[in-house]
Symmetry: C2
Subunit: 336 residues, 2 copies
């Protein structure tokens, strides 16, 4: 028995647009007792991702919705504090679906022990060396299939995934143009990450800017956003263009059905492809991805930025930064 | 010099919705004189296709628009009547872009001599052994990539292309469900062509019927139509589904921008692909296609239907049958 408290955010209402504080209930539960074959993980960092919004929706998507009354689902990293499981000794750092809470009781399924990499902070296992890095790596290379000399456009380019996608595109020899929502973000993309150009979609005429920065048209588009941005890109795609459909964050908070792109028919004229993907399908190939990303990181070819919010209590407000564009880089919550 | 007349339909206005007679002007021109290296083709059958509507639009698509005042562009078959070209002796049957007219003067570029196949009428070279057969063959096999045991859905299933797609799907071992616009068409698909089921989209609840006839979901969708049909299909696609985007006939006559599918985001949850294609890209592989189709035709595995309209003068009204769904099978005009 332990007297520690397990603070939790439980989902109690389905959000209609942005998350509201009242969609969650704060609960202080007792910390569960560890049984045979179980581990108790003290959660350290919680990952906030656009897909959390999908999980809070009634509709069954690629994962079942979080049931009302349950702890909100979320990925993260933590440290094993008590263990009756041979694979997870006390002190092991792990990643997995930790939930929006201080402690996770687990039988080890879905938990991954984290390697100790010198100079690499724990939060990197929520970004570069996580589903984020894998999403960028496999989405771009397996679905987008960029070739050296081609033009790659990335939306949500200053986000955790988008910023990696653009850098991998540069490593692969592409001309890379990012779309982001502030001048600061655009400067970061060009000056620090080496993008060839960046477009502030809030202040620049989107299609004209794309046309200017993509004089040879668009061969690969990595899509995180949807809506008007996708439509503008569709007018400029080259023959045999590939659109890797990673996310459609512009519509996750929509309260009415959102139409697909108006320039949809251009897929025919350009013999182009839109393909959705989920990082879940690539889990068996994680090591291939992390080996490549690690090599590039050590060679100074990859940079990443973590946007760290302090305190589990702030998770419900922090997550909306993803939808207002207020974050830059990987959004995480430092739990305690 | 010849005293024969070359009757022509020239495009003189851009259609707003369906073609109107006033979009065309009837002109009786003299028949051009054949020069060195040229042939005069007497046109026999004109092919009417949904894509004709795209060519009449101002916008540059995969081919430049037909200029106002020019003879309307159209494929067809004819016979060489005069020749100063060694490859096209008088009497040779040819296919190509003959235009909406009695006679074509050509230097031979884009004209293909037709083989003499016993028992195969000339109109088959506007259907099975033409761009239509190639569209069905390569669109289904190269883009849709059906596997035996998978479920294939075809829209515009009683059309020239769709009816071949479904039959090729059966040859490849798929469960095949067609969507068409009348009970007669649906009976033809099931009773004569061997489709497993057919849905009359005008009288049946589309999604429910698809669900009933596709109990294992939809793996491949061959899209000729767009709009609500595509949206219904998108709710039922399986993981890794392939959508071969051949046409979007429901929107060619639209007078306002048409949105893409509302269930677009399902491409992500299902890791599915939509890919546009054009038969033009497959011209170098025509022989591979026609050899396969010819073999299946001889084996009694392929049937096709020709909807023949008499008289070039009726072309402007006949073409709208494609958009009202009044035709069944390949729509052609017997010119003289």
């Amino acid at each position: 028995m332990t007297a520690k408290v397990n603070r939790q955010w439980r989902l109690v209402a389905r959000p209609l647009a942005n998350f509201k504080d009242s969609d969650f209930a704060w609960r202080e539960d007792s910390v569960p007792t560890v049984g045979a074959g179980q581990v108790l993980v003290r959660n350290l960092y919680l990952s906030l991702d656009p897909t959390n919004r999908i999980w809070a929706t009634e509709a069954d998507s690629y994962l079942p919705p979080v049931a009302l009354g349950e702890v909100m689902r979320g990925g993260g990293v933590g440290v094993v504090e008590e263990s009756q499981h041979p694979n997870f000794p006390v002190g092991t750092n792990v990643s997995g679906m930790i939930g929006w809470q201080d402690y996770l009781l687990s039988d080890g399924a879905g938990l991954s022990p984290l390697p100790h990499l010198p100079g690499v902070p724990l939060t990197a296992f929520l970004g570069l060396f996580s589903h984020i890095g894998m999403t960028a790596y496999f989405g771009l290379l397996d679905v987008g299939k960029p070739q050296a000399g081609e033009t790659l456009v990335v939306s949500g380019a200053a986000g955790a995934t988008g910023s990696l996608v653009g850098q991998i595109g540069k490593i692969k020899g592409c001309r890379v143009v990012g779309i982001a929502g502030s001048d600061d973000k655009c400067r970061w993309l060009v000056d620090e990450l080496g993008f060839d150009a960046a477009i502030n979609y809030k202040t620049e005429p989107l299609r004209e800017s794309l046309q200017k920065h993509c004089p040879k048209g668009i061969d690969v588009y990595f899509e995180n956003v949807g809506g008007e941005i996708l439509d503008a890109v569709l007018t400029l795609i080259n023959v045999k263009a590939r659109i890797a459909l990673c996310g459609l964050i512009s519509q996750y908070n929509a309260t009415a059905p959102v139409p697909g792109p108006y320039n949809f028919a251009n897929l025919i004229a350009r013999r182009a492809r839109i393909e959705g993907f989920l990082v879940l399908d690539y889990m068996p190939r994680a090591q291939e991805c992390f080996a490549a990303l690690g090599k590039w990181l050590m060679a100074g070819k990859l940079k990443y930025r973590v946007d760290e919010v302090a305190g589990l209590e702030n998770a419900p407000t922090a997550i909306n930064k993803l939808f207002t564009g207020a974050n830059s880089g990987k959004l995480v919550v430092k739990i305690a």
